[in-house]
Every structure is written in C-alpha cells, then in structure tokens.
C-alpha cells in the first residue's frame, strides 16, 4: 500500500476514534457532570472570595451631568 493510503487509513482511524470518544462524552453527559461537579464549584469558590469594591461608598453626584432636556 502506498504511503498516502496508509496515511489516509491512519487519519480515518483517528477521526473514527475521536468520534467515538466525543460521542461517549455526549451520550454519558460527561460535559455536564464535569461542569456541575468540578468547574462550577471551583468558579463559585473563586467568585465568593473575590475582593470587591464597596459600591455603596461611591458618592452619588446627582448634579454632575446636565439634564439633557432638549425640548424645553
């Protein structure tokens, strides 16, 4: 068999394997399980512990900008 044929066969095999692997992830909801049990708790922990600005300390400058009343 020529080199090209072997290469194509290998490529076909890799594509087929990839398809089977992805189908397993899809069918057994492995993406959902990973996101639910690993990713989301990790991210929640990160967001819960983030340093945040205390927005209530910002002054409310009500007259800082004009009224933008063009018809009066």
């Amino acid at each position: 068999m020529c080199k090209l044929g072997k290469f194509l066969l290998k490529l076909l095999g890799v594509v087929a394997l990839l398809n089977v692997a992805l189908f397993c992830v899809f069918f057994f909801d492995l993406d959902g399980k990973f996101l639910f049990h690993v990713f989301e708790p990790f991210m929640k922990n990160h967001y819960d512990n983030m340093a945040r600005k205390d927005t209530l300390k910002a002054p409310y400058d009500m007259d800082k900008f004009p009224k933008y009343d063009y018809n009066s």
Binding site: L22, F23, F26, F27, F28, D29, D31, G32, K33, L35, F36, F39, E40, M43, K44, H46, Y47, R52, K53, T55, L56, A58, Y60, D61, M62, K64, F65, Y68, D69, Y70, N71
Partner: protein
C-alpha cells in the same frame, strides 16, 4: 422474538412517547436532584446523531468560533475570571439545550435547536463586546471600542439606535448579565437578589429589578460605554433600578420614559419627542450625526423578520405542522424583537423557513402527541421557561404561542420621517411586560382574540407573585375563565427567583389540574414527580 423486534425498533426509531405504547420514561434518565443525565436520551439513530453532530458538537464548535471572532479568547478568559454571571452561567449552556429540547423528535427538534443556536451566538456577541471594551479588563484604559459603545436598559428597544448602525454599538446592560442567565443557570441570579436585599432594600418588589440592581451592588458590571440610556419599564421598581444604576455607573444618562397609559395620540406625540431627544443626546455624546438612511435600512431588515414571524404564526395557528416548541418560540422571539435586527436572526429564519416549508409540504405533524393547544399568557418564570417542554412530554400540552411572542405585532413604516417616528414610538410603548402585563385591561384581555386566532383550547396563566400590576387582574381573569368556560391553569412564580415557587411546585399544580379537572392520564408517568431542586 417480539422483545428483540421491539428493542430493534426502539434502537432505530427511539422509544415511543406514551406509556400505552411502552413509553420512554424520560425522568428515569435523570440523576436527581442535579438535573444531570445518567445518559442523554436515545432518540433513535437519526435524531440521536442529529443531536450529537448538529446540536451538541456544532454548538460547542461554533461557540468557540464566536468567542474567537467576536473579541478573542484572551478577553473571554479575563471576563470569565472577573464576572460571575458569565463564568458560572454560560459554560453549561448545552444543558439549557437539553432541557428545552428534551423528548423532541424530527423537525421539531431541528427547528427549535436553530432558535437556541441564534440566541447563543447573539449572547456571545454581546458579552464579548462588553469584555473587549471593558476598562476593568484593560487596566482602566478607554479603548476605541469603548468610545463606540452605548449602554442601555434591556427594555429599551435596540431599534432606537439604528441611525448609528456600524458606528455605535448598543449593548443592553442587563440582557446578558441578568435575563439570559436565569434561563441557562438559575442559580447565578440569586447572588444578585440577595446582594440588593443585604443593603437594606425590601424583598417584595419585582425580583427582576432587584437582580438588575444587585449586579451593581456586587460590582459585577463591566465598564464598557461612555453613556447610558435607561427607562422606567416595566414599573416603579424599574425606576429605582435606574436610580441605582445612575449612582453606581456614574455616566451621562438619558432617561427614555415609557408612559403607563399609552393608547392615546397625545401620549404618542410625547414619546415621539422623547425619542428625538434621545437621538440628540447620542449626537451630543458621540459627535456622530443621525442617519436617516441607516435607520430606514435597518428598519426594513427588521420588518423582514416580522413578516417571517407572521408567516410562522400563520402555520402555527392553522395547522399542526409548526416545527418550533413552546420555549424556543418564546425565547427566540422576545430576544429578537427586543434586541433588534442582527444578521444571525436572518440566517436562522432562513434555516427555519426551509424546515417549516418541508413540514407543510409533507404534512408532518410535528407534535403528534398534542392533546391540548395551549396559549401561555403574562410573563413566564425565567428559571423554568422550559416547563412547556415538560408539559408536552408529560401531558401532551402543546404551548403553541405565548404573550411574549405577540407583543410587537407590527412592522414599522419607512415612507416618511413622521410615520417612522410614530411607529417607532408605538413599538417602544409595546415593550415587554408593558403592553400585555401592566398595559391595562384592554391589552391583557387580548388573550381571548389570540386564543381564537391560534386555535387554542387551554390557557396557561402566569402569575408573577411580586408584580403588583398583574396581581390586581387575577380575579378578573378568574371571572372571565368561568364566564367563557375556558380551561385554564395558573403558574405562580417569582420571575428569576426559583426559591419562591419551585419548579416541582409548578409541576404539581399542573398535575393537579390535569388529573382533578381534566381527568386525564399522563403520557409519561415518570415525569409526574421528580426532584430537580439543584438543576441549573
């Protein structure tokens, strides 16, 4: 032998829907209470492969592509790390597809999934635009994109910005950080509701307004635009949200009012003037002149979308060949009609037209287990917008149309400046939750006309427990249902807050109605009672 035949038939076509036919028992697939699946549903060879390749894999691939093209991977990663509403919410988006498309087969699966795809693409476009322009993610620098963005309340129709198409990008403040999150992952929004209550604001106003304010309280809003447009939609609680936004955003702000009573020509004149004022505000802030040609071009494109929507309604109302399920119809339509014209809607409509024409020409009954044609009225529970998928699978209740789809039932004239402005004012006043939720009895009671037009025999009546406007009409509806002998059940909820009325409680109320009033048996008994308390 019979067993082997049945197993082969189930493998090839998927298990049949109803218990009488040896049904599929969808809830047996759940890992309760997480909402995860032991395995995803086997829908037969053709539909399972379609779901795998054309929905699951296709959407994962195109989400990555959208992220790369619209703002890049670096901005995306920075945004995910910085903002809870994107990191916690949008990565499990394929489960949102699963919940909405559960049990669907054939053309109904295909048509509905394309609607979901469009919403995902539009969502990525918006948050990527925010992240690419966000001063917080770029060392405090106001880049060129920042200078060409305008922020606005999600209830301000995107169409008022059409005259600056291609020059200024309008990005709603809350559509992605709040509204869409509730549908995809209902847990995220609870942080924002709690945040606003933690600073002493009462817990009884509309939780939508609470959540929209809470995002600011938690300092979780990107700084992506030099100016902002707010509006009083849908109620006085929204006005308070705007006040808090004005405080925390601290930017030039234009308030575009929406009148409470709007069936009045004098009020319309007032709104027309307000829209013109907004246009002057944008010219002032950005130094870019109003373009009539751009406005007309975009409105014509939007009218195209509306005309196709009317074609869809025609098929939906007069036949059983409509390939869109209740949740896809509602969410796609409200998203598209509120956000305004965008390429993805046209591309999606083209695909859906093909599917719909196939259904009509081949007379494909897309929801063959329909027992009742249902119209859903008032505003829906955001954390359980897919209740109608459950209702069809469990009881054969086919939600053929809903209030959110019907609000903007109009095209906009482009023959003269005056006519265009008048129609734009009308469109602005027919905003979500305004026309048919708090827009007066006349519009609330348009239900009866639409019920007839869509050939419905049952009403699913939403009852937003924290909406003071709609609560006043509860008794009137009860009376009308009795007088007109209409089959109707109520769905109480607190819009985004899944803690007030749980999904299980909503299902219990519908189950009770179907057994005690309608005396019917479920199609899929496994769906009667299950625990999905922790579901996204």
């Amino acid at each position: 032998m019979a067993n082997i035949k049945k197993a082969l038939r189930d493998f090839w076509y998927g298990k049949p829907h109803s218990a009488e036919e040896g049904g599929r028992r969808i809830a047996d697939l759940y890992i309760q209470p997480t909402g995860l699946y032991k395995h995803r549903e086997w829908r037969g060879v053709k539909d399972t492969l379609y779901y795998f390749y054309m929905i699951w894999l296709y959407n994962y691939i195109f989400m990555v592509k959208d992220v790369m093209v619209m703002g890049g991977l670096v901005n995306f990663v920075k945004g995910v790390w910085r903002y809870r509403w994107v990191g916690q919410t949008y990565l499990p988006v394929l489960h949102w597809f699963d919940r909405g498309l559960e049990g669907m087969r054939g053309e109904a699966l295909r048509g509905s999934a394309w609607h979901y795809r469009a919403m995902v693409s539009s969502t990525i476009r918006q948050f990527q635009r925010m992240f690419a322009s966000d001063t917080r993610l770029h060392g405090g620098k106001q880049n060129e994109l920042y200078k060409r963005n305008i922020a606005h309340n999600e209830t301000v129709w995107g169409g008022v910005f059409y005259p600056w198409d291609g020059e200024i990008t309008n990005v709603p403040l809350e559509m992605i950080p709040y509204f869409v999150t509730c549908h995809v992952n209902s847990h995220t929004v609870l942080n924002y509701i709690d945040a606003v209550q933690s600073i002493g604001l009462p817990g009884d106003p509309c939780p939508m307004c609470q959540a929209e304010s809470g995002i600011f309280v938690l300092d979780d809003v990107p700084d992506f635009a030099p100016a902002v447009v707010t509006c009083n939609e849908a109620c006085d609680a929204s006005v308070s949200t705007s006040t808090l936004q004005d405080w925390f955003f601290d930017k030039p702000l234009f308030s575009l009012p929406m009148p409470m009573i709007f069936d009045d020509p004098l009020v319309k004149k007032y709104v027309m003037r307000e829209i013109e004022e907004l246009w002057k505000f944008i010219e002032d802030q950005y130094g870019i002149p109003f373009s009539w040609d751009k406005l007309v071009r975009k409105l014509e494109l939007q009218n195209e979308l509306q005309r196709f929507e009317w074609e869809k309604w025609e098929v939906d109302s007069k036949s059983s060949y409509y390939p869109i399920n209740g949740v896809a119809q509602a969410l796609y339509r409200i998203y598209q009609s509120q956000y305004g014209d965008w390429e993805i809607w046209h591309a999606t409509d083209k695909k859906v037209r093909k599917i719909m024409e196939k259904c009509v020409s081949r007379k494909i009954n897309t929801f063959p287990q329909t027992r009742h044609r249902v119209i859903a009225w008032s505003c829906a529970p955001l954390y359980y917008s897919n209740w109608c998928t459950w209702a069809y699978n469990c009881w054969g209740l086919n939600v053929v149309i809903n209030m959110d789809s019907l609000m903007f039932d109009m095209t906009i004239r482009t023959d003269s400046y005056e006519n265009t402005l008048e129609d734009m004012a009308q469109y602005h006043m027919w905003a979500p939750m305004r026309r048919m939720a708090v827009g007066g009895m006349k519009h609330m009671f348009e239900l009866w006309e639409y019920m007839e037009r869509f050939n419905c025999d049952m009403v699913a009546m939403y009852d937003q427990l924290q909406c003071k406007g709609v609560q006043g009409l509860h008794g009137l509806f009860e009376d009308e249902f009795r007088n007109r002998n209409v089959n109707a059940f109520w769905i109480p909820h607190a819009l985004p807050d899944s803690r007030t009325v749980s999904r299980a409680e909503i299902r219990r109320l519908i189950n009770d109605y179907m057994t005690t009033v309608m005396h019917e048996e479920p199609l899929d008994p496994s769906l009667l009672d299950f625990d999905d308390g922790m579901t996204w």
